[in-house]
Symmetry: C2
Subunit: 190 residues, 2 copies
Amino acid sequence: MAKGPNSLEFILLGLLTLRPSTGYDLKKTMDISVRYISPVALSQIYPTLKRMTQNGLVTYRLVERRGKTDLKIYSITRAGQELFLKWLAEPHKPDPYRFDTFTLRFYFSSLLDKATLLNHIRTELAFRQVQLDIARNLKLNDLGDMAPIEELDMTRTVKFWELYHQYGLQFMETYTNWLKYIRGVVEKGI
Amino acid sequence: MAKGPNSLEFILLGLLTLRPSTGYDLKKTMDISVRYISPVALSQIYPTLKRMTQNGLVTYRLVERRGKTDLKIYSITRAGQELFLKWLAEPHKPDPYRFDTFTLRFYFSSLLDKATLLNHIRTELAFRQVQLDIARNLKLNDLGDMAPIEELDMTRTVKFWELYHQYGLQFMETYTNWLKYIRGVVEKGI
DNA sequence: TATCTCATGTAATACGTTACATGATTGC
DNA sequence: GCAATCATGTAACGTATTACATGAGATA
């Protein structure tokens, strides 16, 4: 998703595929689902929807309410729909530094056929397994060899770094295990 | 770390506490340690070091080399050192959306006394346990109740959301388990 | 000969957060 | 009466990424 729409636009298109909503509603939905860990700000949603409207990916209709602010009910356009489904299906390119390019796609994968989805999962899994191997073989001790300032106990410092490194490894392991799990689920037919 | 220096400045100060280095070296060190999963760009390091120099947190001395670009060997100033140690020790405030405000601090915690460090770990752990409970009780089915467009199989869609949700939960579990683990290690004496 | 590593940076752009601004309704 | 929720947004700022620019020495 390097070029063109960013991940928020992707989420918005995905959610608007399911049902028309206001910006406010979209945020609420995200808060309890896709973005429940890291909520998005409304002040980011509104300009994004505006830009997407200008780009013809979404439209809205105004609903007047006595005394209150008008509602803007957004829905996805045919162009937006096509773009979204194209992204969903297009060959997956794992991003070394981020998992969410995959997980986000997976989130909306009920719109995808089984074969394409399995390809995505396998591509991502293969990549993460290689990455995990590399991380496992990272020699932290090399760092301990660097000359530090005199007063410092470098052996002890490196112990902290190792614990930190374990944290990173455990994350990657958790992720690859989850990938294997969903691969199984999808293979059996979801 | 909302105000003042951001996490990159924090890392830079931490690494420069250990030994003077060039911007290039700092990147290399980060690549195989603190930032091995998500490398930082050199084009971000150089301006950051420049800004930190202006703010009196670091200084550099030039080392000329025949034909090649001059080296800028950065080291931390007394002011930078004080600021860094103050941050390390100051009461930990968990950030709901990011783990790295804690993990980064932990990375440099060999410079911290046991009692303060244990406080940090316990604060973070308590917070994450509450957060994990909330996430576990999130009712995804509520989402399934929303009226989708007609053609959509909402039951199937929700299954994907549940799998996605499991991914988030597993991350949080892995993290809290790691926190318990390091708490044990630190309690026993590292 | 060509690519990689070393070593420095700037400029433009994209992305995200915080603060600010407004105002009605609902629940405690 | 006060806070939270609903509902819209703008402006300023901070952070991060990508592209651009330069050039030597080492390695394949």
